[in-house]
Structures are given as structure tokens and as C-alpha cells.
């Protein structure tokens, strides 16, 4: 960690006007870690915690607004979330540990950085950390790296669980920056690495995530967040699937799916969702959806297991959601 200056503004306006080499601090569970490892080297820290951004409130359209500074723990436990958006609550609870969720904020979760081993180790070449140095993960120990959305420059996953559910729920992200406010669909918030992997998302300098909006549709019991990881708790996803289905007469009216652990961003394939709509749930239908979701997957040295597991996890998650028996995050049996 290197010397930095620190400020704690109490208005958004001040917080948006920042010098170069600034990082925003929310819960600090990711940023401080990365600073200790000399991965992030900000010269200025702007602490967002004096801003009033921790509300969780209903929207006129029947949706819900989640403040950027509400903690992951408070968000998952909020009755409006756990009752109306159980998919989101479930995904949050599938992530990290209670201690971390108590600190981690919604805005920080959206902006957390990859867990790629090489990104985390300043002695190693990494295009995301040090543009142009190369990608050590390629041909290296890349069991945890992505198989979808990768590029020659970077194959790192975006590690969040929460954002996978937000993608499935078609959430939108509200931003305020020096140029004013804008709203971006969560599905477009994170970027593919292409040849600029250091840009994780579309956030511009001085822009702050103020809140996340959930549309009214929460899916009730026909949802699931199924996360496969290297131990039964407190590990990032190898493969995770968030599903929300609108069911009627044993027919899927609308399907929303997103995947985590496999993509360089929360992975959504609208064609796969379209393929399910209007159909009766069946194993073969789910297999088709899995094929569609995984189209274009590319594996590297160590991560072929993801491709082997992913279709099975997708099929199981779709079955759970169709049956209205979502995955429990405390009972570890996968039904």
C-alpha cells in the first residue's frame, strides 16, 4: 500500500469532481485488499460513506431502488428484497461470508475487480492491471478463469454473485457524474475485455453508482441461484446460474437467465431466454438452452471442467426454477 490522500465529501457534487488516480471507497473489502497487494495504487481516496446512498425504497412503478451504499447484508435481509426478489437475496447470500457481506456495499459489489491470481500479483504480467504487459493467465493456472467473452488480452471472470442475479432480474444502474446523471441496464454495465481489459465497466472518471433499480417482476418461487464452487461456502463460483421464470399452465411465459463464474461479465444470452419462452419445461428444452448459453465457449489449460459442469448446472437450475423449488443457500443439498 502506498501513501494516498483522503477525503470524505458529503455531497455528490463534490464527490464527482476528482483528480486523476482517484478511487472511491465504499466498504473497502476489495479496494483495501488490492491496495495492500500493490495492485491498486490510488493517490487519492474519496470515501463515499458520508453520502446518503444507503436507502432501500419502493419505486412508483412497483419496482425497488437499492442504494449504492446499502450493505450486501442489509440488502439481502430487507423484507422488500427477501419477499419480492428472493433471487437477489439468494445470490447475495451465496457470496462471500457474513462478515464480508456486513461491510460490502451494493455499489462496491458492482465494481469489484476480478480474482484472477495473476491480476492479484504485481510480479506477474497482466493486461488488466498493467495495460500492454500481456496476460499471464493464458497458458497458466487458469482453472478459475472464464470460458465465455474472453479475448486474447484477458480471460478473467467478473466474480460477483449479486450481479448475476441483477442481470437475470434486468436491473438498471443509476450513475451520477461530472456530466450529470444517466441510467444503464446492468447487462450493459460490465464490459467484455476485448483489447482494453483494464476497463471493467462503462463507468467514467468521476462517475458514481448511486443506486440500482429493480423492475417490478421478481419471479416469486420460480427462481433459483445455483452456485458451484470449490468448497461448500465462502468461495467464488466455478459456475453459477441465476434463473427467473414466469410460469403459467406449466408453460414458461418468460425466462431470464444469467451465469456467473464462466464469463468475463455476468453472462446473458437473449436467444437462450427466447428459446425457453412459451415452452413446456423438459430436460431436452433445458439442454437446448444450455447449448445456446454456452455457444462460443473457449477453454484454456486448466478450466475445461467449467465447460463440463456448466450445462449440468444450467439444466439443474432451470429444473429448480420451473419446479418452484429454489436452491437453499444454507442447506447444501442440491435438489
Amino acid at each position: 500500500m502506498r501513501q494516498f490522500s483522503y477525503s470524505r465529501p458529503d455531497t455528490l457534487g463534490t464527490a464527482c469532481h476528482i483528480p486523476d488516480h482517484t478511487r472511491y471507497l465504499a466498504g473497502g473489502t476489495n479496494l483495501i485488499d488490492l491496495m495492500k497487494s500493490d495492485v491498486e495504487r490510488p493517490e487519492h481516496i474519496v470515501d463515499l460513506n458520508a453520502l446518503s446512498l444507503s436507502q432501500i425504497e419502493e419505486r412508483p412503478d412497483g419496482g425497488l431502488r437499492l442504494g449504492a451504499l446499502a450493505t450486501n447484508a442489509d440488502t439481502a435481509a430487507h423484507p422488500l428484497v427477501s419477499e419480492r426478489y428472493p433471487l437477489l437475496a439468494s445470490a447475495i447470500l451465496a457470496g462471500a461470508s457474513p462478515q464480508i457481506r456486513n461491510r460490502a456495499t451494493n455499489g462496491g459489489n458492482l465494481n469489484q475487480r476480478t480474482r484472477c491470481h495473476y491480476f492479484y500479483d504485481p510480479d506477474m504480467a497482466c493486461n488488466k492491471r498493467s495495460p500492454g504487459t500481456g496476460c499471464s493467465a493464458k497458458g497458466g493456472r487458469n482453472r478459475i478463469m472464464a470460458i465465455l467473452g474472453t479475448s486474447d488480452a484477458c480471460i478473467a471472470t467478473f466474480p460477483s454473485d449479486m450481479c448475476v442475479a441483477l442481470a437475470a432480474l434486468n436491473a438498471t444502474v443509476n450513475l451520477t457524474g461530472p456530466e450529470g446523471e444517466r441510467t444503464v441496464p446492468l447487462r450493459n454495465y460490465h464490459r467484455l475485455p476485448e483489447d482494453t481489459p483494464w476497463q471493467d465497466n462503462i463507468l467514467c472518471a468521476g462517475e458514481i453508482v448511486t443506486s440500482i433499480d429493480l423492475p417490478p417482476l421478481g419471479f416469486g418461487p420460480h427462481h433459483t441461484y445455483l452456485k458451484i464452487r470449490d468448497r461448500l461456502s465462502f468461495a467464488f463460483a466455478i459456475v453459477s446460474v441465476a434463473v427467473g421464470l414466469q410460469m403459467g399452465n406449466n408453460t414458461i411465459r418468460k425466462a431470464c437467465i444469467a451465469m456467473g463464474g464462466v464469463g468475463t461479465k455476468p453472462w446473458c444470452v437473449p436467444e437462450a431466454e427466447a428459446l425457453l419462452a412459451g415452452k413446456t419445461p423438459s430436460p431436452s428444452l433445458f439442454r437446448d438452452a444450455a447449448d445456446c448459453l454456452l455457444q462460443g465457449a473457449v477453454t484454456d489449460r486448466d478450466n475445461a471442467a467449467k465447460l463440463k459442469l456448466a450445462p449440468r448446472v444450467i439444466i439443474r437450475a432451470l429444473s429448480q426454477a420451473a419446479a418452484g423449488t429454489p436452491q437453499s443457500q444454507t442447506q447444501k443439498t442440491i435438489f
Binding site: H117, D230, L309, V313
Partner: protein, 748 residues
């Protein structure tokens, strides 16, 4: 309130528990001498080569930086490699930190920044620029296998495998055979407390070194030798150790570098490794074992052929007792084993909890399970059928082996006898259920140890020995031992450990401390009581009842009072009163327990082992392959159990670690650079609570008067041996799929 003496065998809670949970217990990184400097180590990013240049302007410009110590400016340290040999005695050329420009492993310290604050030291370390000339290296275990060799000089504890019969021929003739290559990934110890050293530069020019170590006297010897200091210039303390698992057996580079910095600047210095840096030194070696077993159709083993290799560095020959365990534990007329080490350009692998056996027993027991199935025999019945009552490799009797009892009691507790033989025959919904078992074996060692017992004017008993309590409960069992041996309540005992100035005790490891230090304390307490009685008897001014009792030998010391057996209870004397009657302000004895004590000289004539039988239930999601361990029963035969509470904790802890070995733990080597890449707790997975079921640990009765003076065998490591195999075997029973490489992870 009357306080009573505790006995060996009672489930006494940790006497140091309160100090630990209230932060009173001081660990190596906690003393804070005035003016102390913080050291931060800079590690090499390359595996082999040499330092070409060090550019330190930016680093020195960080406010608070006092010095940057490198091979170029370090103070004098011993020249000869021999001076750096530590207590573990790994043959080869020990690594000499900051010795010269040469790099022989990734992570090797190349500089230490010394600064007024930790933050300044760390920042300067990040700003230090070092140029390297890179030389070719090999850090790939597979690729190193063709260079495997047997070191000319072996480690002192190395047990060479001994062949019997003609294994190759018997194998060829066996009607039933199995053969395979078994593999274990490298693992790191990852104790909760990181390695750290605080060197206090005392006013008189001596150094008090607080180090995270398992052997304060070994570190003292190492430092005096490597830094050319005299013995009275260095005192090493480690009263509390936050786990070690073998990582503290060797003097790690942090202690050398902190002392070197203190010597250079004549200042107190502290170095604490980061969690990431904990992956730059010792680890459990990667291993392969080629195992071939032959048997008769009735399940009688005919031949065992074991060929094993573990990795070592290019400069030292770390060796493990990897291949011998099956040959010792099973009756089989023909057996042979071979062991070699394979060099790679990394730091030297080292002992980690049950070194050799954790790997060798588990992998062998996975093969035994395969053989039982090849013979269509229940795995427990197969093991009983080939049971050996002796050390079959050395053809030597054993001091005891209650493994059969452990197998039976464990099986009953688990409910093994209802087990359907066929794999994939139990299911519950989408989960397949499997039951597996394995046996464990580990050395029951004893090392000569000294202890001092002192009775002071306040009537308290002080016990001192240079043993280390690495979190195992040594303070507690020694207090129990002293309480029973002397006849004094635990509350009136002070135990002093972890100081190189105390009576000699070998480095804690190999599960020998309970047996060895326990015996020394027992002896010292008995001897102190005799001395008290003798001295009292000689002093003229004691009451009639005591004079009579002492001469009739009816005086007893019980619960802290001298009294007469059967006599009036009011006629008693407290220890402080007794001591004042002797006219002395303290009575002290020092004793050394040796294996020969009280006619137990069986060390040479009999072999000594701890045994266990482990039973496991797993549930495996059939499609997703997700494994959940749902039940674990471990029946342990470890002689006399000094404290069932701390002993069961030791076994349970090892079972957790072995669950990690079976399912989670793996240090991922990127052989292109020679670095373990998942060097943090987020990506190096140890089991979480959710991965661990209720564990049942039972100790079977095993009376063994010969193994050690107190009949104790030690329990720190046995829980590692067999547990991982039981899990792997249960996975086979659940799924019908064999895995020969650990850990078994999702997608395998």
C-alpha cells in the same frame, strides 16, 4: 473452596484459554520494544538467476525508511554453509538469506526494508526496483521426475524401506492385481498466525528473539551459528504459537533476517510475513506413488510394490517416509518399496503435519480399497484378513497395536456392518451416498526431555521446560501431569514453556511432546516431592504427626497439603507452611526423562506406532459431482490419553485438514515462473464450516507400558492419516468412480 488435584486422563479445559481469548497471550509479533523498526521483505519474482542491479532511490525516498538491507550491504554472517544447518538437518546446502546475488527460488528474499513504521517499510518494498538476469529453471514436478534420485546422505529420521520375499515375481503370479499412479498436490501449512519475529536489542548487547517457531532452542542454535554470535547473546522465546503444523520446525528466513537487521542497525526489529509471503517458504511436497498390489482370490495379499517420489529443491534433499507404511502395517509375504526425491527450482519442501504418512498412508489406503474391491471383499474385512500384529517390514514386535479394536469400535459406532458392498447402491434423491473407510498409522515417538520443578514460598509449583505449545494443549496436559505427580491443584501450578533458557526440550513435532515433556514433568514432580519430604524429615522443627508420618512413609501430598493417610484431617500442612519449615525459600529439581526410564527400554527392540480406523459417509450429487462429507468417525489407538478433550480436538483438527487434503487444498504452481499462484486464503481453499460434518472421535483402550514412560503415544498427527483416503474411498462407493489424485475437486 477446596481445590483438587487434576489427574492425567481428565478432560481439563485449556488453562491458557482465557489468556488467549482475552489477548493476554503474547505471540511473536506482539512485543513492542521502544524504537523498534519494522522490516518488510522483498521477494524474488524469478525462480533462477542473479540480481543484476538494485535501484533503491525511490524506496529510500519514502519517509521513515531507515535502511534497505541486501546482499551488498548486510552485516557479516557465517560463511560456511554448515553454519546454516538447522535442527531438522535436511541434507544439502541450506539456503542462506541475502548471502549473494544468486536466486534459486521464486519468492527468495532479495532485500529487507527497515523503517520506522510498517506502512513505510511496505511501501518502500513496493518501490524497490531490482533487475535480474534470468536463468532457465524447472519448477514442473512432472518434468522433474526423470531427474529423481536418492540423496547420498539421508535425513536422520529417514526409515529406508526394507524388501521381503520376491515382490515382482509374486505380483506376476498373483491372480488378482491392481496397479496405478496416485498423486497428491502440494499443500501449504497456513497456520492462523503468520511467521513473525521480533528481535529485541537489549541494552547489554544481547538479543531477545520472539519467534514463531516450534523449537526455541533450535532457533537459538541456528542464530548463534549463522550469525556467529555466542550462545549467551541470544535468547529465543515462543510462549504462544498460533498453530504451525510443521512450518515452524525449521528456522524460517524471517528470524534470520530480523536478527541480521538488528545486528546491522543495533536496533530492535520486527518482521512479519504477509499471508502471501507464507507461500514463499515451506510446503508439503507434491508426491506420486506407483502402487501395485497382488492378491489371492480369497483376499490374501501376495505382493506389494510401492514406488514413491516427492519433490525437493535444487539445493537441499528433503525426504519423507512416504513408501513404508503399507509394508509395516500389512501382512504380506512379498513386498518392496523404493523412494526418491525429484529436484525442482523452488524452495525446499518440508514437513507438514504427519509428513510422509499423511501422503503415503492416504494414497496407499486408496489402493488397498481398490484391491479389496478387486477381491470382491468388504474393505474392513480385507484389512482384517491381512492384519499384521507386528511391524511387518522390520519383522519386529510392537509395543502395542489396538488397531483391530479401533476398527471394530469405529465400525460399530459408524454402523459399517449394514453397508452394501456394491458401489452406487445407496441414494437419496439426486445424491449418491457412499461409505468408505481406511486405517491410519503414525510413529509414536519419544525424545529425551528435561524439566524443572520448583516449589516457592507462596506454595506454588513452577514447571519449566523449553517445550512449545503450538496450540495443541501442552500447557494443560503438563499442568495435569504435574498436578497428579506432585499432588497439587492445577490452580497452584505455573507452567513456563517456550524459552530457550529453560531446561532442554526437543523441537515440538512428530507428536512426541506429550509423551516426552509429560514424562520429564512427571519425573521432576516426583523427585521434587521426594526432596521436600527428605528435607522436611531432616529439619528438626516439625510436629510429631509429620515426623512419624515421614518416617513411616504414611505422609502424602494431596491437593496441595501434606497429610497423613488415615489420620485426622485437621492435621495438615500447606505447601508454603511446609516449605518455611525446611528453612528454605525454594526447593528445586531438574530431571531428564530418557527412554530407558523405569525399565521401558523397548525403543530398539520394539516398534512403536499410533493407529486409527476412519469411517466416512459422503453424499455426491450424481450429475454435478459435488461432494459433501456428512459423517466422519475416527477410532484412535494412541496409548494413554492424557486429556480426552484436547486430544479429541487434535484429532478433529487433523481430520479437518485431511478433508482439505481430500477435497480442497492445492497450491497451484505456475511452473513457468516457479511460483504458487493461489497465494491467499481466498483462493487457497481450506475447508469452511459448511464442509465439515459432526465428527466423532473415539479413543480405544490401549495399555502400553513400553512405548513411553507414561504410556502416552501422542495424537497430533494421527488424524491426518487415513481420513483423506476414507473420503476418497467413500466417493468411490457412492459413485463407482475411482480418483487417484488428491484433491478431488468439482468437475474432476
Amino acid at each position: 473452596m477446596t481445590l483438587h488435584s487434576a489427574k492425567i486422563g481428565q478432560p481439563v479445559s485449556r488453562i491458557d484459554g482465557l489468556a488467549k481469548v482475552t489477548g493476554q497471550a503474547r505471540y511473536a509479533a506482539e512485543p513492542h520494544p521502544a524504537g523498534m523498526l519494522y522490516g518488510f521483505i522483498v521477494n524474488s519474482p524469478i525462480a533462477r538467476g542473479r540480481i543484476e542491479a538494485i535501484r533503491d532511490e525511490a524506496a529510500r525516498a519514502v519517509p521513515g525508511v531507515v535502511e534497505i538491507m541486501t546482499h551488498l550491504n548486510r552485516p557479516h554472517s557465517a560463511l560456511s554453509e554448515k553454519s546454516y544447518v538447522d535442527g531438522l538437518g535436511v541434507p544439502g546446502s541450506p539456503y542462506r538469506p541475502l548471502h549473494d546475488a544468486e536466486i534459486s527460488f521464486n519468492g527468495q528474499p532479495v532485500a529487507v526494508v527497515l523503517a520506522e513504521t510498517f506502512e513505510a517499510a511496505r511501501e518502500a518494498a513496493m518501490r524497490l526496483e531490482v533487475d535480474y538476469e534470468r536463468w532457465p529453471h524447472n519448477a514442473d514436478f512432472e518434468a522433474s521426475l526423470h531427474q529423481k534420485y536418492m540423496p547420498g546422505k539421508t535425513r536422520s529420521n529417514y526409515v529406508p524401506p526394507k524388501s521381503r520375499g520376491n515382490a515382482a515375481e509374486a505380483y506376476a503370479l498373483s491372480p488378482i492385481k491392481i496397479e496405478g499412479r496416485y498423486h497428491l498436490a502440494p499443500e501449504h501449512h497456513n497456520p492462523m498466525e503468520m511467521h513473525a519475529t521480533t528481535v529485541i536489542a537489549e541494552d547489554d548487547g544481547t538479543f531477545t528473539v520472539w519467534d514463531k517457531t516450534q523449537g526455541p532452542q533450535a532457533v537459538q542454535a541456528y542464530l548463534t551459528s549463522a550469525l556467529s554470535l555466542s550462545k549467551d547473546q541470544v535468547r529465543v522465546r515462543n510462549p504462544y504459537v498460533g498453530g504451525a503444523f510443521g512450518s515452524g520446525l525449521r528456522a524460517q528466513h524471517n528470524v534470520f533476517l530480523a536478527a541480521l537487521g538488528a545486528k546491522m542497525l543495533k536496533h530492535s526489529v520486527r518482521i512479519t510475513l504477509t499471508r502471501q509471503q507464507m507461500f514463499t517458504h515451506v510446503f508439503r511436497p507434491e508426491a506420486v506413488m506407483d502402487i501395485a498390489l497382488g492378491a489371492q482370490p480369497d483376499g490374501t495379499l501376495q505382493s506389494m510394490i510401492v514406488d514413491g517420489v516427492t519433490d525437493t529443491s535444487r539445493f537441499e534433499h528433503n525426504m519423507e517416509n512416504l513408501v513404508i507404511w503399507g509394508l509395516i502395517n500389512y501382512k504380506c509375504p512379498n513386498a518392496t518399496a523404493d523412494y526418491k526425491v525429484a529436484p525442482r527450482d523452488t524452495y525446499t519442501s518440508s514437513d507438514m503435519r504427519a509428513p510422509g504418512a499423511a501422503t503415503g498412508v492416504n494414497l496407499f489406503e486408496m489402493a488397498v480399497d481398490e484391491m479389496a474391491y478387486a477381491c470382491n471383499m468388504d474393505p474392513l474385512a480385507f484389512r482384517l484378513h491381512n492384519y499384521s500384529d507386528i511391524d511387518a517390514m522390520h519383522d519386529m514386535p510392537l509395543t502395542s497395536k489396538a488397531l483391530k479394536e479401533a476398527m471394530q469400535e469405529g465400525a460399530e459406532r459408524f454402523g459399517w456392518y449394514n453397508r452394501p458392498m456394491a458401489p452406487k447402491s445407496m441414494r437419496d434423491g439426486k445424491e449418491l451416498i457412499g461409505w468408505g473407510m481406511a486405517t491410519g498409522i503414525w510413529d509414536a515417538m519419544f525424545s529425551p526431555t528435561s524439566a524443572r520443578a520448583t516449589l516457592t514460598a507462596d506454595g506454588r509449583l513452577h514447571i519449566a521446560t523449553a517445550a512449545s505449545d503450538i496450540g495443541t494443549g501442552t500447557y494443560t496436559i503438563l499442568a495435569q501431569t504435574a498436578s497428579e505427580a506432585f499432588g497439587i491443584p492445577i490452580e497452584m501450578i505455573d507452567i513456563e514453556l517456550g524459552d530457550s533458557t529453560l531446561p532442554e526440550c526437543p523441537t515440538e513435532g512428530g507428536s512426541w511432546t506429550a509423551a516426552s515433556a509429560g514424562a520429564a514433568v512427571w519425573l521432576a514432580c516426583q523427585s521434587l516431592r521426594e526432596k521436600l519430604f527428605r528435607t522436611l524429615g531432616k529439619s528438626g522443627n516439625i510436629s510429631a504427626w509429620l515426623t512419624e508420618g515421614l518416617s513411616n512413609k504414611t505422609t502424602v501430598l494431596q491437593d496441595g497439603f501434606l497429610q497423613d493417610k488415615g489420620a485426622d484431617e485437621n492435621l495438615r500442612l500447606s505447601l508454603s507452611e511446609a516449605l518455611s519449615l525446611t528453612g528454605q525459600d525454594r526447593l528445586e529439581v531438574e530431571e531428564t526423562a530418557k527412554p530407558g526410564l523405569r525399565g521401558t527400554i523397548s525403543q530398539m527392540r520394539k516398534a512403536r506406532f499410533t493407529h486409527s480406523a476412519v469411517f466416512c459417509e459422503v453424499r455426491v450429487d450424481e450429475e454435478l459431482g459435488i461432494v459433501r462429507v456428512t459423517r466422519l468417525v475416527n477410532a484412535v489407538a494412541a496409548g494413554r490419553i492424557m486429556n480426552p478433550k484436547t486430544a479429541a480436538s487434535q484429532v478433529r483438527g487433523a481430520m479437518v485438514m485431511a478433508t482439505g487434503m481430500a477435497l480442497h487444498e492445492e497450491s497451484l504452481m505456475d511452473e513457468r515462473v516457479g511460483r504458487f499462484m493461489n497465494h491467499n486464503f481466498s483462493e487457497y481453499h481450506i475447508p469452511a464450516h459448511a464442509d465439515i460434518p459432526d465428527m466423532d472421535v473415539l479413543f480405544v483402550t490401549e495399555k502400553d507400558k513400553e512405548v513411553s514412560p507414561l504410556g502416552v503415544k501422542g495424537v497430533g498427527e494421527i488424524g491426518m492419516c487415513g481420513t483423506a483416503a476414507a473420503i476418497a474411498n467413500a466417493i468411490f462407493h457412492a459413485t463407482g468412480q475411482r480418483h487417484r489424485s488428491l484433491p478431488i475437486t468439482p468437475g474432476d
